[in-house]
Symmetry: C2
Subunit: 724 residues, 2 copies
């Protein structure tokens, strides 16, 4: 656990040592490759690896290994790796699983430095496969050979023209265009689809790696490598499970230190998804919330959709972050434009308002009634017919003026069928190169827009199949910017908790004990004391001040209010005495429990309620949860999770990102509440969780009552456990 | 207004009389067509109309009219319509706007029955254009000629092989396949894109009409026609504004009577969208909520996205409604499968659980660990390798078994790049023909999946570009079924309101007056009386019973609570007297107003709060609004609108469709509240609005307090106005 603990402190140092880094560089940039099981048959893995290496122009030495043929695709073949005379950097092994261990031994004899194991049927198929995998790893380690896979689809290094992969996504490509988006995928088939779909829409990759079963090299190694790789500008991850959280987070920290944004999709974010992932890989899915919180704390942008991830990465690479809401919409159909505008709000986006300056500049191109968003190019054409300019010129001018407007932060051009499709595409490509804002092209003309689409593709301009795809990307860019404040984890602050902790029982703590713990961490709780009889309750109430609340206390009493165990708004000693007796009677008769006493508590009228909680995660350590309170918490599903500890500043960011934030920040005439006291309580609760570590399994302060200038925990529960 | 009123009563009779229906039949099924402005040049409207009519095999007589050429595309051309010898059913006019009126005259001389006016620059470009349009309509009416357009892109009748349209969407098609989806669009460019995109994904149309400026024939006419058209099974509408609500709703009613579902997208559902529509067409956008409510009352399915609308229509045509949640997910990538499953919940969809029977049936095809959803065809392939069956057979068997499972109501197959792409596509096409549930194909393999996509296209199977597109369609099908109960409008029930109404002032009514109106309609309101001084307040409180609420009453007092005008939870005569004096002082000093008195009101502890309102819409009459109450109403944006009057039964449907419905129907241990008393209050309020008609501009019962077995209006406001 101490290992997991320190994982949350960002590491300034890279994960990989010089030797490991050199091995990875060689694996991904080999001067010589041997393909064991090479063949002319593109139906076979070994056939396609050779085919694609040749097709995309691999410039190093390529050695087919096949005992049954003399040549493969014109290259001299050898019966075994031993029988060929060259130094081999990387060997690709696509042989059946039972032969792989021996193939590794053979590679070692020829000084092979790294093997790519395409072969499947290892750990992913159960215990026998896992044993086979362990044996292969053992042999490789003994020889100092690094492994990619098994059960992987290799990698593609576009800058090196090395398509060392049997993925059929490569069959439909003529070239692999170099770019800046790195991709590490825990699913080979999905990597194939990501390359295919990404290339189609204009994403350009640096290196794409399928890590397979991660028997040796894992996600973290490639993140760390790409952080230092000059060709990679951003790193996209598809993650199913993280074998070593510490290494993973250290790699994220290194990427952040090198200024490389990490984007990430982790499957298993829902319960059904968790079951699907478990069934797919041998590894446990782990807690999605914990991985997400820890990754966000290290600056990663965690997304829901793998294909969207690529488009967002390409946009970030080309244009940097979106700095404000404000979208311009263009089409040559008034109907399409109106529909697009309606759709914006579904994604939390707003239509930009053009400045007076832009409106003036548009005068030569659009009639007075149409110098606003959405732009209708159909009208631009009418102007052109009047003054003789070309349609391209008018469209290009309008796009340029609007995209330069300071209120416009992104643009979406929807192509509908019509006579101006080609000029529109040309203008988008031309203006897209000039502006430093995303200008997304949506082809809603289907096959009729093929020529326009070809113009867009030739310009390597980003394009989308539907407006929804484009709007999801812009919404993600905006969310990323809004939550950009999410900082590195805060430093641990030592709290003096032991004097209180040693007086607490193990297991589920009652309200009063949990509040003692909270108070020890400096978190304000309601003034309260335990009364053992009605007269004591009245005395305490007098001390605390009216009105007060009475709550039955008994170890086995879980639902106090259902059992008549709560009385609110008691305004006199007499009312307190009567309420005490009524509670004792009600709990005895309804729940069959004799109460130990009643908590006498100040009654507070709050402006809002929130929930603050903590959870201990076995992989990622302490988490802090913040959500909207009251009965609507379920309806809004409004919970944000962060890695503990967090600063009060970061807590304010969490609060502002809640769906229910307007309740706190003021809306419809409600006053804004001070966020600082709430944030300080969240910070303190996160420090409490960090200090207790695995001993605090979970804690819920619910509700944390929010008043205009202060907060107080009105009820709370926790589960304590001795150090494991 | 009486016209608008009766519009909401469904008409059993069709909208069109026999003559009009015959004209429409001739317009859309002409035996002879003259194209005025015909040309060899596909860059011109008149060139493309001829080109497409020929290309798609028009079987009637086709007459090019062009004074400057002898033939067009091998057809004999005539200098004018008069100079040709044949009877002409339909003339297409693409001549400049200023010549159109004369062209109509000429058509009349040759007994032309209908004209399609492609020409633009009429009402949509301002007053001069509107005058020109009025002149054209006047001439046509004088001659008994019906008009489609102007400013339209004609129509396509697939069953008649009549592509009477210059839309460039037709350039990319080789054939126009007949089908059952009718389309009427108020935007020509959008119709083109809908034909292009719809055809691409497997939608098959019957007739598509671009109505343009609706100078003569309008949306309603084509809805009514398609309701009786044997080739049309469902009707899709893209609407910007409805010129005559009465005719529009009558056509919807006729379509419903003929068992044809109407699907509809209206742009201008947001404020920005309204401005965009106004700028696009001459017509006012009208109230989106009112049009939507009235259309839903007539059975229409109102959607947000035009492209989704086509896919939903095709699914409804092929498979009928979705009867329950429960989606099966298939792919050949475990990673893609897990991601898809995660994504389901974003759309309110659930992964189905297979029955024991299905799991047993899957035994020959899948290993024991993988007989569940999502299905991984990669594993199916492994089984095949073990027992020698073909991959197609295994995939087809698995698809068939899963889709037949009674827990599965829809399926999504995501194609990722891999070796089984073609067999997967073949199996989807084969099983898709057999099952009576939507089985949606998503191509996530890009160009690498071209062969598989071709198989799907050849089978005319529905396909999607992203899983989001498929899930949106399934979610819409599910919503449609869930809200299917939404019935025809209820009958008007006569209320005796005049005795109260004549005592009420005009304009904004205060709380007490509004409640008198509500009470007269049989709606329970809080017991209350107006007190003129502190002693009277105390006497009234004693009669009503403690605790009570005091609310200041004064005509100009709008925000009572901000001015210290409200006191809650008063439990004694003394407390009431003190509160009265405090309120009078506070309102006087803070707002500078002398109060008329205070309303003394019973104080009620409610389990939930809702809002019920009414609005008068100039086009569609009385509407009733139901929403969640309390401070979260803004956050949830949880309002449903229906055409008044509605039955209590329909009101229960509205309540159940609220996002906050769980608060009423019970969740997390909260008791379910009786919906009937709420529904009866909604029904009564809707009858109140119907009885008062345009005299009740708006009314808000906010909150309507919900107790376990009864409801009561605790506060209310209304605006009354004499009949206009």
């Amino acid at each position: 656990m101490s290992d997991t603990h320190s994982a949350l402190t960002p590491a300034a140092s890279p994960l990989l040592d010089a030797t490991a880094r050199a091995s990875l560089r060689l694996l991904l940039n080999p001067d010589s490759i041997a393909v064991i099981g090479a063949s002319e048959d593109s139906g076979k893995f070994g056939g396609r690896v050779i085919e694609y290496l040749l097709k995309f122009g691999y410039r190093g030495r390529l050695i087919p290994i096949n005992p049954r043929v003399a040549t493969v695709r014109g290259l001299q073949a050898y019966p075994s790796i031993r029988s060929q005379p060259h130094r081999i950097d990387v060997a690709v092994i696509a042989a059946p699983a039972r032969y792989v261990a021996d193939a590794i031994d053979e590679c070692a004899q020829s000084a092979v430095r790294a093997c790519v194991l395409i072969t499947a049927e290892f750990a992913e198929v159960g215990d026998e496969g896992a044993r086979r995998q362990a044996q292969v790893v053992e042999r490789a380690r003994a020889h100092g050979i690094r492994l990619l896979g098994p059960n992987c689809l290799g990698y593609v290094n576009t800058h090196g023209k090395i398509a060392l992969s049997p993925s059929l996504s490569l069959s439909a490509l003529d070239t692999i265009e170099p770019g800046g988006v790195g991709l590490v995928s825990q699913s080979g088939a999905l990597m194939g689809s990501l390359i295919a779909m990404g290339t189609d829409i204009g994403v350009r990759f640096s290196t794409c790696v399928s890590v397979g079963n991660q028997a040796d090299l894992e996600l973290a190694d490639f993140i760390d490598y790409m952080a230092d790789d000059a060709t990679t500008r951003l790193i996209c991850l598809y993650v199913e499970g993280v074998p070593s959280p510490r290494r993973f987070l250290q790699a994220l920290a290194h990427a952040r230190a090198r200024g490389k944004r990490v984007l990430m999709v982790k499957s298993g974010r829902t319960e059904s998804g968790v079951r699907a992932v478990k069934s797919h890989t041998a590894s446990m899915a782990g807690s999605y919330a914990a991985l997400r919180a820890a990754s966000e704390a290290h600056g990663a942008l965690v997304m829901d959709d793998v294909f969207d991830m690529l488009a967002v990465a390409e946009c970030l690479k080309r244009h940097g972050p979106l700095t404000a809401n404000g979208v311009a919409v263009f089409s040559a159909s008034g109907g399409a434009g109106a529909s697009l505008v309606d759709s914006l709000s579904d994604y939390g986006l707003s239509l930009a308002s053009l400045t007076e300056g832009s409106i003036r500049e548009l005068a030569p191109w659009l009639p007075q009634t149409h110098r606003h968003l959405p732009v209708d190019f159909g009208v631009a054409r009418l102007s052109r017919q009047a003054d003789g300019a070309s349609p391209f010129g008018a469209i290009e001018a309008v796009l340029r003026i609007v995209m330069a407007d300071p209120n416009v932060h992104a643009g979406v051009v929807m192509l509908t069928t019509g006579s101006m499709m080609a000029p529109i595409a040309q203008a988008v490509a031309a203006v897209g190169r000039l502006v430093d804002k995303p200008l997304l092209f949506v082809n809603a003309a289907g096959r009729a827009g093929a020529q326009a689409q070809a113009i867009i593709n030739a310009a390597a301009h980003l394009s989308f199949k539907t407006s929804h795809d484009a709007f999801r990307v812009i919404a993600t860019l905006l969310r990323d910017f809004d939550q950009r404040g999410s900082p590195a984890p805060a430093a641990r602050r030592e709290l003096s908790l032991e004097p209180v902790v040693k007086t607490l029982p193990q297991g589920l703590l009652n309200e009063h004990d949990t509040k003692r713990l909270l108070a020890a961490a400096g978190i304000p709780v309601t003034r309260e004391r335990l009364a053992r009889d009605a007269d004591e309750a009245a005395r305490i109430a007098l001390e605390i001040g009216f009105p007060v609340v009475l709550k039955a206390q008994a170890p086995s009493l879980s639902h106090k209010s259902d059992s008549g165990g709560v009385a609110l708004d008691l305004r006199s000693e007499q009312a307190v005495r009567e309420a005490y007796r009524a509670i004792a009677f009600a709990v005895e008769s309804r729940a069959g429990i004799t109460i130990e006493g009643c908590l006498v508590q100040e009654m507070i009228e709050a402006q809002a309620e929130i929930i603050v909680g903590t959870r201990w995660d076995e992989q990622f350590g302490a988490l802090v949860l913040v959500g909207s309170g009251g009965i609507y918490v379920e309806l809004l599903r409004d919970i944000r999770v962060a890695a503990a500890p967090i600063s009060a500043n970061a807590a304010i960011g969490l609060l502002r990102s809640l769906k229910s934030a307007p309740i706190l920040t003021g809306f419809r005439g409600r006053p804004a509440l001070a966020l600082e006291p709430i944030a300080q309580a969240i910070e303190a609760i996160s420090q409490l969780a960090t200090n207790l570590g695995p001993r605090l399994r979970e804690l819920d302060a619910n509700p944390l009552l929010v008043m205009p200038q202060r907060v107080v925990v009105a009820d709370a529960r926790a589960v304590l456990q001795g150090a494991p």
